[in-house]
């Protein structure tokens, strides 16, 4: 049975390549049909803001890639409620509809459920 992996993305979308490189791990694993999930935590939840204009910075739009996750079989997406609240973000106003918002204790349980975790 394949080992499962949780990828925790903690960086804002344009804080360097980290957000993109976390996503790439998920997409690569999805391409191999591996059981994966992504959790957006701390500044990582800023990737979930709608109506961003990445073109202004000559950057790629991360929203399209986040929405592509399910095409690669990565359907389990989570966001930290505390991180959202700290940044004035409502749980229903995010750019990915199929995402679950979790409280802190639920996140501890989430981390426990996966065989491996990468936090970047």
């Amino acid at each position: 049975m394949a080992k499962s992996m949780l990828i925790i993305s903690r960086q804002a979308p344009w804080a360097g390549p980290s957000a993109r490189e976390a996503l790439d791990i998920a997409l690569a694993g999805g391409a191999f049909d591996l059981p994966l999930a992504m959790l957006f935590l701390d500044d990582g939840v800023l990737q979930l803001l709608p109506d961003q204009a990445a073109g202004e910075l000559q950057q790629k739009d991360i929203t399209a890639n986040l929405q592509a996750l399910s095409m690669f079989g990565v359907d389990d997406l989570f966001a930290c409620h505390t991180s959202l609240a700290e940044r004035g973000m409502g749980p229903t106003e995010l750019n990915v509809e199929t995402l679950q918002v979790l409280r802190d204790q639920e996140i501890a349980a989430l981390i426990d459920r996966y065989d491996q975790v990468i936090t970047l």
């Binding site: 394949a2 080992k3 992996m5 390549p17 980290s18 490189e21 790439d24 791990i25 690569a28 694993g29 391409a31 191999f32 591996l34 491996q116 990468i118 936090t119 970047l120």
Partner: protein, 130 residues
Amino acid sequence: MKFAIALYSPAHAPSSRRALLFAQAVLAGGHEIVRLFFYQDGVHSASSSIVTPQDEQDVAAQWRDFVTDNQLDGVVCIAAALRRGVLDADEARRYSRPAVNLAAPWELSGLGQLHDAVQSADRLICFGGP
């Protein structure tokens, strides 16, 4: 146990040296290293162009020797490497770049190798940051 070790920081970061010392302790403890995978700024830890003052630790050289001496699989993520200007001879030729700064024992490959290592190993340990 089988270990997959992933490094995300350059040779001058304390975490690169820490990862190396950990990897050495893994082998000394009788365990196996399935693969070393260098990602994000970790690609710089595989650079062959690093010059350190004589009175400082040359961690990149130590990594190279460690992989060679123990015949380990040392993989550098190609996408992360290209983005950061770490190129082997093939890529330098492909993209007409003036310098080659990645050589044996390091191999450029994709993130699939990280996943493959994680699937084969009992433990994944990541090192990065300070």
